[in-house]
């Protein structure tokens, strides 16, 4: 199994019981692939995200106050990837806990 698949599998397993924020994925990609270039981190992270979406996870905004996810209207993986791509400016570094861009969860949550 490729490294990227293993990483994605790890997050898919985590999504069995938890919401997975982009803020958690990006730094893990950075660490596991020993990346220093923000653009590379973004590109690799989007590869992981693509796998998560292909396995049925959906993206949404996470309501931290109430621990709820509000799925985006975009449900098509390509559209979700495009939105993340638009909202992620590598010049500002990786997504953070307060500015995660999105979280992922299984569709049953909503």
């Amino acid at each position: 199994m490729e490294k990227i698949d293993k990483l994605a599998t790890s997050f898919l397993n985590e999504a069995e019981e938890d919401y997975v924020g982009l803020w958690a994925i990006a730094p893990t990609v950075r660490r596991d692939f020993a990346l220093s270039d923000n653009q590379e981190v973004k590109a690799r992270t989007l590869e992981v995200v693509r796998i998560l979406l292909d396995h049925g996870l959906l993206a949404g905004d996470f309501d931290y106050d109430n621990s709820k996810i509000y799925f985006w209207d975009e449900r098509d993986p390509q559209a979700i990837i495009a939105r993340i791509d638009r909202e992620w400016d590598p010049a500002r570094g990786d997504p953070t806990l307060p500015e995660s861009i999105c979280w992922f969860a299984k569709a049953r949550v909503q």
């Binding site: 599998t9 790890s10 997050f11 985590e14 919401y19 953070t96 307060p98």
Partner: protein, 236 residues
Amino acid sequence: MVLTGAGYVPLGQEAPGKAGTNVTRFRKGNPYHDEQGLFTSADGAASGEGRAGSVQVASRDKWPPVRTAQTGEEDDRDRAEEQNDPSAEARQQQWGNAIQTLRALDPKNPNLSYIVPQDWVPSDQNIADINTEIANVATRRATDFIMPGGNLIGEQGSGSDANVRNLPDGAQAAQAAFDYLSVGGKPYAGSYSSSGKMVTLPGNVGWVGLRSNDQGIPTVDINLPATFGSIRIHYR
């Protein structure tokens, strides 16, 4: 030891300063000092009785005011310049806030023990230095929590990512961990996070949050971009 006009003397001992020179009271215009112009650690370890006159005293070379003994004339001129500085009050405020944060994080931090002259105004460099110390202490505090004894806290959780951890004792333990990690931080206010369940850590080294996971299990998120990246701890 402290630096006085007469050389180094231990904190708490009277320096043989200028004849007839008494303790300079520093309360006026700066609420972050005690009446002797002394920042002390919370346990009062540095609160000495005797003070040199109007000459700066410091316990560290790093900051603050490493001014050597000066003539009275030079001292007066410096003070006059400080009094004409329109940003002096703002810098004193920043300094005071920083001292409070550092004290909350690390009450015994050696940088908390020093004496400054009446109406001392910190420079931008003084403030930058203390903020660097705050960032270092905040990072160390979070790191020590995440890796007590050099090993990641708790047991590895779901998935194969070592940064997902499981700990026992549920909501109470999660709240205690969040409270501990939040010390000196500021509640983050943004969309979907305005209830104080997410906090920006001191020195802006990262964030900590308290939420429930998809199964309702209390979870603490820790995001330290420059060190650990992301940690999720589930309190089962």
